[in-house]
Symmetry: C2
Subunit: 538 residues, 2 copies
Amino acid sequence: MYGTAVAVFLVILVAALQGSGPPESPFPYRVPLDPEGSLELSWNVSYTQEMVYFQLLVRELKAGVLFGMSNRGELENADLVVLWTDGDSAYFGDAWSDEQGRIHLDSQQDYQLLQARRTPDGLCLLFKRPFGTCDPKDYLIEDGTVHLVYGVLEEPFGSLEAINTSGLQIGLQRVQLLKPNISIPALPSDLRSMEIRAPDVLIPGKKTTYWCHVTELPDGFSRHHIVMAFYYPEEAGLAFGGAGSSRFLRLEVHYHNPLEIQGRRDSSGIRLYYTATLRRFDAGIMELGLVYTPLMAIPPQETAFVLTGYCTDKCTQMALPPSGIHIFASQLHTHLTGRKVVTVLARNGQEKEIVNRDDHYSPHFQEIRMLKKVVSVQPGDVLITSCTYDTGDRDLATVGGFGILEEMCVNYVHYYPRTQLELCKSAVDAGFLRKYFHTVNRFNAEEVCTCQQASVPEQFASVPWNSFSRDMLKAVYGFAPISVHCNKSTAVRFPGEWDLQPLPKITSKLDEPTPRCPASRGQSPTSPTVVSIGGSRS
Amino acid sequence: MYGTAVAVFLVILVAALQGSGPPESPFPYRVPLDPEGSLELSWNVSYTQEMVYFQLLVRELKAGVLFGMSNRGELENADLVVLWTDGDSAYFGDAWSDEQGRIHLDSQQDYQLLQARRTPDGLCLLFKRPFGTCDPKDYLIEDGTVHLVYGVLEEPFGSLEAINTSGLQIGLQRVQLLKPNISIPALPSDLRSMEIRAPDVLIPGKKTTYWCHVTELPDGFSRHHIVMAFYYPEEAGLAFGGAGSSRFLRLEVHYHNPLEIQGRRDSSGIRLYYTATLRRFDAGIMELGLVYTPLMAIPPQETAFVLTGYCTDKCTQMALPPSGIHIFASQLHTHLTGRKVVTVLARNGQEKEIVNRDDHYSPHFQEIRMLKKVVSVQPGDVLITSCTYDTGDRDLATVGGFGILEEMCVNYVHYYPRTQLELCKSAVDAGFLRKYFHTVNRFNAEEVCTCQQASVPEQFASVPWNSFSRDMLKAVYGFAPISVHCNKSTAVRFPGEWDLQPLPKITSKLDEPTPRCPASRGQSPTSPTVVSIGGSRS
């Protein structure tokens, strides 16, 4: 039995050395899993193989370790690899956890151990997994946020099923696992950097503070291009300084202080890398999604309620240059109940392309992400941004707004060449929402406050939330005309009629991507691998 | 290559003889596939193996044959077995057809050939397939209607992909493949039969005729039990004759004459098997579902619109005996746009059990089906009947009613002991539907006719069908109070208030059944089997 298992292991190892190894630099991405960094994950992505190569460093191995992925970082319904010992041998197996967190061996072993070796830093496990496995128990590795989960086994277990996850040290880490496969642009030789920091600010003792700090550029500071906050494409940079441009830089820090703690101080900030060697195009930032208004609201106790904001054909027709713009990066943004965000580009009523999508979005993990592929937007195109919210733990409607307990649905897209269009968003027409409140009143015995004095949040607060008021709100948001904010950077609208605009008609949708099943599927082992971790090399 | 394939075939054959053969009488169910009966299918079901055993008789083999299943009998997106020849050898393979009807070999061969032999009647193919295969290209064999498809290959093809389905003689046949596994009850020795026929009726030259013919029982005909129209359970029979019972039998024939042909005559009828040896219980028939009323309507251009009728707790509380009733058979009924029908039993707000379900329902294949398991209904239970309609080819709303172009949603359940409750159905409250028409008016520029004189069908005909009017209709049907018909066989309601009743609240739903993947999955061959069909036995 032991002999057979070792043989299997060696075959896998040889196969790994015969060319299916990770491409280029072995593991360019790295993140600590636990706060102490005792578990450290490095990884690489092969898009041709549709495979992720993982290297898990376990600094102080106790009796084993769990690692895996789950929808939002929970250890229930997770897709796991487990390294465990029964006291005699050590095993490596592909496993899954059920709704109660009980662990089971997977009938199909899709995580493949490539190497296990002792290093001066600890035990180093090298393994790989396809993006999709077609095993219904397995997690599908997609673009966007991935919630990694881990657990430390302190003692031997006779079997996987015997592992009691409630007694383990566990945790989660959020990463973008499928980093885009783009090469780092060449940086100019005259690269300089500048730091803008909050000047030891006393954080106010209230829940939400948007704190602004203005600094001034030196006298006579000429036009420069910022090329690295993240990496800008070689042909574009974010302009600042010089004639016709503001001499002031505004740093805006959003403080979330839920416990309303007094007396805390902060010096957060940002470091800009810039060059005097101007690039071909100025880059710009445009805000897509929903207007910050209580007109857009989410009923309470909804686990997947969708709100959608539109950048209409009329606005892109008016504001974009004839050759269009090119989006190369995107930052998705919601407040606490946001769970998914997607922006889709539509042309002539047909969905054409995903601009950015995160089906495992977390408001606690917001980053500017380079797009895998630059998306070109032409005049007349429509950009549709949809956010999915979970208000399962709320008792009142969640309305749109600036407060952390209100909601947003925003995609900040980074693009070039820069245009005057800074904000292209929408909200439902206020008159149609009034009709909604009236209709809910007609259909319910209870009185909803529809008096003129009542604010929209007050009206939402008095809606009796039943199947009708919920379905009807969805129907109104999916039908009523919208008010479009097609704004210049000076916060004024482009000229034209922007109220009571029809919702863009979409006649054909993009197909949901169907994951490719790995070709080697039938050949994967169906039992765990015995691992030798005694020596310096297995 | 030929040697290997034959070896594979022999191994399968031996395995089949070693105990995995079909249980009991080899093939109790039989149906011709084509109108001429040149293809004949016999089958048997093993519920312990979750396997169907098929015997396909090809009376005059040309160059091959296709057989399989698809959602509604189309040859696109079908799950197929193909017997074909390239001129030299004959092959048997598990295949699937894509949206264009092109045929591809399945990567996983789930149909297993057990035997191929020449008989005096023709070529006889014996093969088996699990109910579910977990192959996303495969059809899931479920309870209810299965649409079988077939095709005759007239000439050799070099490969499966080369088969041009548009040039074949093809067709479909509807069957209930998963016949319930119940033994035939013992029949009484004094079994007699009686025929009631339409007396050579001249069929009227109009689309829909409900034709009634009344015959009289002989003078002094005592109380008897009908025990076989289909087989009644041993403890129950349908009573007729005797004191306190009508001496008249009414035969009702529904003629559908879409071309309004004149001069056709008909003598259709029914044969009753009955006994004077009365059984313990009288059986009864109860009608569940929707009231025949235009208040319940389906918008045009909907591919899966659901209407639901309720038999409420209040009605079952009032009308059922304390020990409840036992449903043993069911006949689902809709008109032309019906695609699915299901009745669910709920108790204390929780769905408990499926009474009958057909996810591939066809209005062209209506039969009384014995339930696999008798369903007991207690006083206070709720019976929820939902029908799914496809009005994709209609331009106006389809309203409820008797006409063939109107719709119904009915489940006739056969049960014992007989009660006074003959009909337990519902429809939306008419006042709330008026509010619906008013609201659609408020939200649309176009005027919907909501004048008092207009009938409900006229009002539905003037609704502008957009996302709002569609979503809102669903919301109203899912929320508004209902009018309940809780009627005795005399067509009068049970005493009590039956209007403006609340919709039953369902707090927990039944899980969708997840098909079991066959255990032998990884071991099935991935290439077609070479078949020897030259001799009298392969």
